[in-house]
Symmetry: C2
Subunit: 340 residues, 2 copies
DNA sequence: TTGTAGGCGTTATCAC
DNA sequence: GTGATAACGCCTACAA
């Protein structure tokens, strides 16, 4: 039955009314402009005919598509599915759909995807890309397209954004180690040109200060990427430097997994000889040996909140720009123990 | 610059030509209808003006949206991101975009999402849901909407589909065990109302026959879901039954991970006392202890091929329905060894 | 409260 | 080969 080349005219005809009136009756926003019984007739007609408004035509006319562009580096990075799911769920509840674009961290691809989405008249953007060319932001601004940043901040807080509180998360991690008695704590930091890498590093620094400990440069290595290989390399580097330490705070789970490999190679046992704490980006990390102690982030909620913020901007709600931080949580597992 | 309220008229005006001509020149399909130098002029004008065709308007006129609906159970199930990514990439190359819908395996949700996508005038569907109500298929058929099935077959092969060759995969797994000398091999099967669960079970049966071994009913348990908990429960059940066996072929990685837990509890060491082989659905499974021997499936290619098939149907290419199987591959790791 | 008319940007079908 | 014209389906001033 729901074969749908049935148009507004058909509904209007059946209801014995002009298409314009039918349009008004069907649109919740304008229904009050039409007499109740006519509205009822139109609605009935639409119902029995199985009328579905054509979103394409509507889009062309209203220049709004009920569509949102979501730019992420790569959907197969386990970090993103829960975020995207959160975005989709919240958007769907408001009658919107998400167009997902994978940029692979490539600026050129990012620009292309962005343009294609603009061409499709998306009503706004959720930007979760790693590097974000300010050119894009400028263009979105020029086109008055609402934008919400995810996992990334505008330096000047001029853009709405949602992210996990990385600094606080790293504080939790270091506090956990310190509470167990660790004093010489190393950090394998993520890339410093990425906001998560940078803010976790800052959090590490701040946490040490809070414990009245100065940061030892020998105990910090910056990884070139959030990868297992880099984690492995950096951990080995730390061990080779010879400066003593009893715990590692890794920039994320990938780096921590790399650490496991390097520690095993070096015959350093975890957690007996070395504690490892990390940032929970991934499923199954609790099945490693030993199960990894991590900071858990509410990824799904990051998604829903980002969508919420975007919908508010799209709806033209006034008010100040919102910068939202979601609290992380320490999940203590088997990779941390008091130092010997 | 790429502010784009520049329309076809603008281009036509600048090229000193009628919009219709500009349209022809810009459209590769019809370019040959226009004189070469005029075409050139139009293209130049479009170039300098930064013209971007408006896909919404085009859609309205051509009754095609360059949009495809993709129904999956849940994006956060690690099985799907690579498939979706494959679909998106292939579609993007053809100027299409995917609308992702999560059904959570719920029939009602599935229907709703399907309807919403129909309302958005998608040009076709990729259906990767677990249970698939035939009502949906019927409706798609009635609307002459192309559909491609993923990881699922139409019983009568009446629908194009792409899936990994589950039977063959299970054969590889059992062959691997048999080659090592295992004779008493247990199977923890996935739910039998799900096509992957069923076909892997069939493959298990066939593989045993190929080795001239009858299936021992005591050595087969059917899980209620592809979950760690069920894997745990089923493995314990197998052990409790008391029938001797030296290897387990699990229906997928989740079940295998559950086995690890149950084996450890029972003091059965893997791979010394018990080999485990599984189906690769997930990243990081190689980081378990011991690293899991699995059958790897080309998920990404499943996605690209599905998109390809769909695009062919959308383009109205004639020809028979294609049912495509992609070959799996054995990845031997540490969880399998010869029996003692 | 309802009808009229015009147009969103594009393409298909005519004519010239 | 190119121009004119008319939709595609919907919305919204404006008029009645």
């Amino acid at each position: 039955m729901p074969d749908s080349p049935v148009t507004l005219r058909d509904v209007a005809a059946r209801a014995g009314v002009h298409p314009a009136t039918a349009s008004r009756a069907l649109n919740p926003e304008t229904r009050l402009l039409v007499r109740e019984d006519t509205a009822r007739r139109v609605l009935d007609a639409a119902q029995t005919l199985g009328y579905r408004p054509n979103p394409v035509a509507r889009s062309l006319r209203t220049r709004r598509s009920n569509t949102v562009g979501v730019l992420i580096p790569d959907l197969t990075n386990p970090l993103f599915p829960p975020i995207v799911r959160g975005i989709e769920d919240r958007l769907a509840a408001a009658g919107y759909v998400a167009l997902i674009g994978n940029t692979d961290g490539d600026d050129e691809r990012e620009r292309i995807v962005f343009e294609q989405m603009r061409a499709r008249h998306v009503d706004g953007f959720v930007l979760a890309t790693v590097h974000l060319s300010s050119a894009l932001l400028a263009e979105a601004g020029r086109a008055e397209l609402p934008v919400v940043l995810v996992n990334r901040l505008a330096e000047d807080h001029s853009m709405p954004s949602v992210s996990a509180d990385n600094e606080r998360g790293m504080r939790l991690a270091v506090d956990h180690l310190a509470d167990m008695g660790h004093r010489r704590i190393a950090h394998i930091a993520g890339p410093q040109d990425v906001s998560t890498g940078l803010s976790r590093f800052r959090g590490f620094d701040a946490a040490l200060r809070a414990h009245a400990t100065a940061m030892d440069e020998d105990l910090v290595v910056v990884a070139k990427a959030f990868s297992i290989e880099e984690g492995h390399r950096c951990c080995r580097l730390l061990l080779e430097r010879g400066a003593p330490f009893t715990a590692i705070a890794a920039g994320n789970d990938m780096l921590a997994v790399g650490c496991y490999g390097a520690l095993e190679e070096a015959g350093v046992r975890c957690p007996d000889d070395m504690s490892v704490v990390s940032f929970h980006d991934m499923p199954f990390i609790d099945r490693l040996r030993p199960p990894l102690t991590t900071i858990r982030f509410p990824h799904y909620q990051v998604g829903t909140e980002a969508a919420q913020l975007l919908l508010e901007r799209i709806a033209g709600e006034p008010g100040p720009v919102k910068v939202l931080y979601l609290a992380p949580e320490l999940i203590a597992r088997g990779s941390t123990a008091p130092p010997r």
